[in-house]
Amino acid sequence: MNRVQTQDFSVAEEYAKLADNPGCGAVVTFVGKVRDFGDNQGVTQMELEHYPGMTEAVLEQIEAEARQRWPLDEVIIIHRVGSLALTDQIVFIGVSSAHRKAAFAACEYLIDFLKTRAPFWKKEQTQAEAHWVDAKDSDEQAAAMWLEDK
């Protein structure tokens, strides 16, 4: 169910797929968007590059890890690549489960590991210049927390 694509996605459509199950009591979704400050103020657009093949493999792997940790129904991960403008949707993570704690934890786990392990790279464009986004220590720490947790 995971996809890497240039086109936009519809939260409504993805939500409907996640929720379509009589045993599903909880649906948690996360959407990441292009905001007007990233590493710099005044971001107007960005380019998203990825490593085709490896990206899909990493998404499958982090989904499998989440399913080992929590009882989940559906999992959907979508990441866009190419040119994105301010306020565009970048990434969707949706999880459904019988239990809300599992759905919340798995959704946050998936975005934390997507950010630190999936081969995507962002180049932000402001009025003045374009530059590659630096990886953040806070993202590494967020992912590392899950490993201590186990």
């Binding site: 490593y51 490896m54 990441h79 990434v91 999936a118 081969p119 790279w121 590659w132």
Partner: protein
């Protein structure tokens, strides 16, 4: 043959997104990196970073891993998706 891919800043600095090389006996991820970094200033700059990551056959790898003929090796900076 070894297929070598470059992404993001690495790709941009050297101006090439992939190359193919003859496989050499006992080649490792690190020896391949050292060999490529010696190809000129841009290559040195692109591949010399402390933060450089390497993947072998689309799986994140380490620096003293032996390669096999036919492997796909990729060099790239820390990932910043999501």
């Amino acid at each position: 043959m070894i297929k070598v891919l470059f992404f993001a800043q690495v790709r941009e600095i050297i101006g090439v997104d992939h190359i193919e090389l003859e496989y050499q006996h006992s080649m490792t991820t690190n020896s391949l990196r050292t060999f490529l970094a010696s190809q000129g200033d841009k290559w040195e700059q692109a591949l010399g970073s402390d933060n450089l990551l390497v993947a072998v056959n689309q799986t994140l790898s380490q620096w003293q891993v032996e390669l096999e003929d036919g492997d796909e090796v990729a060099f790239f900076p820390p990932v910043t998706g999501g």
